[in-house]
């Protein structure tokens, strides 16, 4: 049995210190890199699958999708590096390679932590036609219901986001108290989760004010040479 008080080496020279730290650094690097190498493909795959599923649920008529990135010149170009999610949106196409809608990721502050959403925009309907909560850390049983409550999610089956000729939202999206929804651009809040409901409304309002004018004015970026399904996956 080892005694409890093993002499921990004490040294005054610098060389053993460097040796110990560099050696330890190497061991740690080995562990981290192998953990990353082993898990990265699995994580990548499940993330892609999750996003794909969300997009095709939001755009049920779409058979293929393609990722586009907004360039600094305010144009959309097919995205090549999909790991970088900045300024990325997805366009969905039907069997005839016609554009059926966009899936737009958005994020913002919820009650306790940030909420990540994916919403579908139908250019023909001029409306948000679906919403999925990708991640949230809202309180279980209260705010977390924004991701699952059917009545709440029904708000987004057709949420009016008509643009004025000046390319602003005609009626900014707003959350109203539960059961008080009167207009097509209002969201019935969840009772008991007003803050989370309002957060969703704010995220959608900000995101749609940014993206919709661009999506409307740059339609040709998406119609020109809509990619084939076999090219479009991923």
């Amino acid at each position: 049995m080892t005694p409890a008080d093993i002499e921990i080496p004490i040294t005054t020279r610098a060389w053993p210190l460097y040796r110990a730290l560099v050696g330890l650094g190497l061991i740690c690097a080995l562990i981290i890199v192998s953990a990353y190498q082993l898990t990265a493909p699995v994580i990548e795959r499940s993330k892609t699958a999750m996003l794909e599923q969300a997009i095709f649920t939001l755009l049920p008529t779409a058979l293929s999708k393609h990722a586009y990135r907004l360039t600094a010149q305010n144009r959309f170009e097919p995205a090549t590096d999909k790991r970088n999610s900045a300024r990325l949106i997805y366009a969905g196409y039907d069997a005839a390679h016609r554009l059926v809608g966009f899936a737009v990721p958005a994020r913002g502050m919820g009650y306790q932590d940030s909420i990540e959403l994916l919403y579908a925009y139908g250019p023909e309907q001029q409306a948000i036609i679906g919403l999925q909560v990708l991640s949230s850390r809202e309180t279980p049983g209260l705010g977390a219901r924004i991701a699952s409550d059917p009545a709440f999610l029904h708000n987004f089956a057709r949420l009016d986001v008509t643009l004025t000729p000046g390319l602003h939202l005609a009626h900014p999206i707003e959350a109203v108290p539960a059961g008080k929804k009167l207009a097509a651009w209002q969201i019935d809040s969840l009772s008991g989760a007003t803050v989370s409901s309002r957060a969703v409304a704010a995220i959608l309002r900000q995101s749609s004010e940014f993206w919709l004018p661009l999506l409307t004015t740059r339609q040709e970026d998406f119609t020109r040479g809509a990619p084939h399904r076999d090219l479009a996956d991923g």
Binding site: M1, T2, P3, A4, D5, I6, I8, P9, I10, T11, P16, L17, A20, L21, G23, L24, G25, I27, C28, I31, I32, A35, Y36, L38, T39, A40, V42, I43, S46, K47, M50, D113, S135, S136, R137, T139, P140, G141, L142, G192
Partner: protein, 218 residues
């Protein structure tokens, strides 16, 4: 870091293996007796499952870091030991973060940044310094297992009480009748403080001896 050694008396060298194990699990339960390492974990105990996941992740890091620290105990000079321990712990936390992501993205999202915060859990550094740095690998493993399971037990206690009273369910299965008015406050941060306070009270009563000097513990 001397206070860790001073305030968390461990099974000394004369103690048997079972003793090493039981000490962490019960006698010196990290949460209920030593009141340590709650910061990064209390926030995710609003359901039993989240508490369990967080506890297991912490146990994994504790096991690995105790093993490596114990293996290298003769190779790490005293002056750089704390830096080395932090490096080792951060390595395993990064690994566990990726493992959780690979196992379930859902779970990873539910735990959020709090997985990474395991790195600053006082228990892990405390065990590395107070136990693993001066004991054999086998005993360090036992110590980590005891402390880790003690931690899991504590988080489960907290998580299940909060879930049962707050949402009327346990691990997602309804356990209370429909007529029960849910104590929403239990799911909120305030409920975390109350539940921890109540459990500490229960433990103090059971043990019939007040926890020593919790005042000065980090």
């Amino acid at each position: 870091m001397e206070h860790h050694t001073a305030t968390s008396p461990t099974a000394d060298d004369s103690a048997g293996d079972t003793d090493v194990f039981i000490t962490g699990l019960w006698r010196q339960n990290p949460v209920f007796v030593q009141v340590l390492g709650m910061c990064p974990t209390l926030a995710v105990t609003n359901s039993a499952l989240n508490g369990l996941a967080m506890g297991l992740a912490t146990t994994f890091v504790l096991l690995m870091s105790n093993t490596l620290v114990s293996l290298l105990r003769k190779a790490i000079p005293r002056q750089v030991r704390i830096a080395s321990y932090i490096l080792i712990i951060a390595t395993f936390v990064t690994a566990v973060d990726y493992i959780i992501q690979a196992l379930s993205l859902e779970l990873h999202k539910a735990l959020g940044a709090f997985v990474s915060l395991i790195v600053v859990n006082c228990i892990i550094l405390g065990r590395a310094e107070a136990f693993a740095s001066r004991n054999s690998v086998r005993r360090s493993l036992l110590d980590a297992l005891g402390m880790g399971l003690g931690f899991v037990f504590a988080l489960l206690c907290l998580g299940s009480v909060r879930e049962i009273l707050g949402s009327g369910t346990l691990v997602g299965i309804a356990v209370l009748p429909d007529g029960f008015e849910k104590w929403v406050v239990m799911l909120l941060p305030a409920g975390g403080f109350f539940t921890l306070g109540l459990w500490l009270m229960v433990f103090k009563r059971i043990k019939r001896e007040p926890p020593r000097a919790t005042e000065t513990q980090p």
